[in-house]
Amino acid sequence: MENIAIIGIGMTAIEADKKGDTFADMAWEAVNKALDDAGMTIDDLDNVVTTSNDFWDGRTISCMAVSDAGGASNKNVSCVEGDGAFGAFYGMTRILSGSYGTTLVIAHSKGSESVSSLITNAAFDPIYDRALGMDMITASAMQANAYMHGTGATPEHLAMVSVKNHGNARLNPLAQLPMDITVDDVLNSEMIADPLHKLDCSPVSDGCCAVIIANESKAEKYRGKPVWVKGAAFCSDAYFLGDRDLSYARSLEAAAKKAYSMAGIIDPKKDIDVAELYDAFTYQEMMWAEALGLCQDTGAGAMLEKGLFDIKGEMPVNPSGGLLSGHPVIAAGLIRIAEAVNQLRNDAGSYQVEGAEKAIAHGVNGLCGQSHCVWILSREK
């Protein structure tokens, strides 16, 4: 793959309710931050890819809301409906195709404006499943049970993820839920859907992220320090939950294999220095870390027990605090990419992983991690 870099990032704070901001206002903030970061003006952007979801926005053609804020009115523009990591992938192909030198990718959502249960219930097949009234939380709880049954992971292991991520969030000024909690706090929090307690679940948040991708010649033209894309891949599992082995993230394994191959990574445990993963729920960080090959054979639980996923551990996962500390859907995966960029540029302030050279950023589409998008980023070209 030709050399592609991320040269600018911008994020709004992640908050429970951005009362004063419309989608366009959030996009305006994130885009301007990204432009400042890269040392570019809006005219330097050759094309725009927005990422949004019609259900979450309550708006068909949801891309319309952020088009102007992205400077897209006189540019080539498109929209991916799905997680921002996928949007960024498409934005990258528009450069690799030779059509454009730079792409602005924006991803947003305002969870505060809607009833999340009804929105994720709409992901269920209307003919066979929807009437049952499940949603993202009950589906994920079902997967958590399958995962724990299949691997022996315990409620304490899940709680450790929450403790770590909320703790990390205290170091991240943009995070919504910095918290100093213990495993017992998590286990004593309200049981939402067995086995997930309240503190096992990410909140529903408002937020927006913008990322500027560039080809090699443009990457070297602007002030923003480039972080190089060494590999990127995505893959989807079957749709019906009953068709899948919910305890095993096979589509993530496939996407990871492809991304590692593109990046020339043979042993991710050795080569990857930090990972920003899609932890919508505590058990997911464990499942995804295992499928990505970041854990010893004893699994994620053992890694957590030994503190290996901590910022100062051997394999830091979600030093930013992850989604458990703030989850604007759609923007979520793009924020993972932006946080990975922060790490590789040595810009992550108090949650910086020392000497980070290669990072994984990861996004998810669909129920129970049906479809995954994996990015391998590097400080060196």
Binding site: M1, E2, N53, D54, F55, G58, R59, T60, I61, C63, M64, A65, S67, D68, A72, S73, N74, K75, N76, V77, S78, C79, V80, E81, G82, F86, F89, Y90, M92, T93, R94, L96, S97, G98, S99, I119, T120, A122, A123, D125, P126, I127, A233, F234, C235, S236, D237, A238, Y239, F240, R250, S251, A254, A255, N365, G366, L367, Q370, S371
Partner: protein, 387 residues
Amino acid sequence: MSKKRVAIVGTGQTHHKSHRPDVNGQELINEAVQRGLEDADLTIDDIDAVVIGNMDHFEGINYTDCWSVDGSGAFMKPIMKLTTGGTTGSTLGIGGYHMVASGLFEKVLVIGWEKNSESDTTGAITTAFDAVWDRLVFAGAISGLAVEAQAYMAKYGATDRDGARVSVRDRKHACNNPYTQLRKEVTLDEVLASPMLADPIHLLDVCPRTDGACAVIMANEDVAEKICSNPDWILATANRHTYTYLGDVNWGELDSMAGAAKDLFNKAGIKEPRNEIDVIELYQPYSFAGIIWIEDLGIVGRGKGAEYIWSGATDMGGELPINPSGGVIACNPIGATGLIRCAEAALQVMGKAEQRQVPDVNIALSSGFGGCMWTDLILHGKKKPDF
């Protein structure tokens, strides 16, 4: 892996109908996909990635890319959803192009689909517009189009009779297309006598509501000619989603079309579109657009659209046939429609358009329309482009 030239090597569509009660959405998608694979003589295993889209609120299903997997063939493959409203189909065509041109995927399956019969179309469209400023006064798609027609008429003295001539043309062309929904000719008088929806738009001036799906298979230059002896090369793509608020629109001229066309022709080196383009599949949701938008394309000068249409230049056999498929007035499964334009343009270039074939097609143009008067354009050609 480096950038590649891209060709369409196969297409498939369902026989579009107002209702398809025999299939659910996944099954409808599958029909088009199976036909596309058959046309290209490929199996689903040959496909490296899938790009799919529809307009969510028409079917009320969230994350349809994930949901579609059984029907779209994306099991354990990369699948991504693109959606931009009415322009979705053409946005998908452009998306498939970039995915292949990037060099990351050799063969990509592009799918556009819609089951408009499953919902209240107008109710769903109304949510496109800003909840605070536009939604409460905007009554679905037709009113905006009527405003455009009125603005043009006021400037150039055209009448609804001129619009009707375009309907007559497209409904006649549709009779040659076995896939399209409405396959009965209409006369000028019939169009003008049909109920007025929003002055000057009559019922027979606008598109119907349709269930349908379309699949297009794109391949890179390394394999395109092995799969298909006469592939349709994508010469260039361009789009403009210019406006967000209805009040900002420059009514009577389609600025997004003019902007996208300028960009497209620049990329492809087209200097005289009227002479160089052999056929146009225009996403024309209502008849009057057929008069106005050819001016924005630079086919004719401002105010000259009606005259050109009346001359027969855009009929089959004319100098620049438009919508040999019958276009959108004969069939409109919204998420598929723009991709059907792309597929029909490809069929013209590949010489596979059967009864609706325009002779000697070297260059074809397909367009998409939607949103707040937005335009997507794709230029297709018989000859492999220089880089």
